[in-house]
Amino acid sequence: MFDYNFHWRPVMKSLPDLLEASLLTLQVAVLAMILGIIIGLCLALIRLNMRGPLRWIASTWVELARNTPALFQLFFFGFGLGAFGLHLSPYMIVLAGLTFNCAGYLAENFRGGFQAVPDTQIRASRSLGMNAWQAYTRIVIPQVFRIVYHPITNQMVWAVLMSSLGMLVGFRELSGETQFFASRTFRIFEYFAVTAVIYYVIVKLILGASRLLATRLFRY
């Protein structure tokens, strides 16, 4: 009834390659998050404070990022731009796709964060003689950052897991590398089982680090 023979040896032999590929996974996810946070913050501020074409662009960005499959977004930067003669490297396709997606989700988190800080905090800051920039950077943004901290952690986890879509545009990150070895050895199950464990460990490490950082950052 169950006559599949597991062969773990090939997987173990390519484990160093897989671990190296997982660093690439982590790298692209971290970069996408850094860019996503910066762009997401801008998108949120535009949507909260501006009118006109800039606001329209920001809203469209958020709508597309949140309401279409991440895979399609990646394909857009790969095959979509390719159709117009703009060929990005697999690395850039994944980075651009993930950044686009993360920025859209994070923009909504930031928007909620800004709306959760009462206007009276700004009034109190201004009444002390702070200018608008000081009130925002010293009083509002630190509070917003705390509100969006855990959603950002979530998004970071998503970025790591979503980077596995890179496999489908020829990017040799952890999943791409796994696919490469699996198709050469036909030990598909073994390879993806081990890779799943690696993803699990990466995510657990991110969550642990985030929790540790939170206890240091937020004493109130």
């Binding site: 009462p118 009444s127 002390l128 003689g129 010293r138 009083i139 109130y220």
Partner: protein
Amino acid sequence: MIEIHDLHKYFGSLHVLKGINLNVEKGEVLSVIGASGSGKSTLLYCINGLEPVQQSNAVVDGTDVHAKGTDINKLRQQLGMVFQQWNSFPHLTALENVALAPKIVKGKSKAEAREIAAQQLKHVGLGEKLDVYPSALSGGQQQRLAIARALAMEPEYMLFDEATSALDPELVGEVLETMRMLAEEGMTMICVTHEMGFARDVSDRVAFFHQGVMEEIGPPEQIFGNPQSEHTQKFLANVR
């Protein structure tokens, strides 16, 4: 000296202040009383420029608050403000709450700012709470923290916007005590308040506002003992 001449304020089509004329001398304590919606709080916001005005002349120590060239951030350093919702900064300790503005607005050194902050917190009776976050303070303590925060800018005037209205009744006393102490030290104060006892005992003058108009102003003995306007009489009969 604060001089207000024919001040008008609209929220949309709502005419909330209808031509206020008022002078507040240095060292004076003025209490402003009246029903909710009579424009008392709005008056304070217009004095420190947190609300724009449609027509006015609010002049603080010779500077027109709403004139185009006025450096409002500089002017606000003269005008300490305490709000109904105390608005302590939740992500900063009591000491940091008070030290922040002297440091980043006045350009004091970190050590200097912290020293000023510690001194002001001691002044309002929070000397033991320097490193505590606002979430661990009671409403009354947070309001005293807000007073210390305003005082740390060494203002010439203090504006109190219903500083005790949002407090639990048993916490009102400690805040009024602090305000009383400031008055005795000679601080110039405009207190929008519902505390009639405070208005009567501490103020040099009391102003009664009714529907955007200053109906009556005078020493507390006059306002409470022998009010001239019919609206003042009615209001005082209701709050007693």
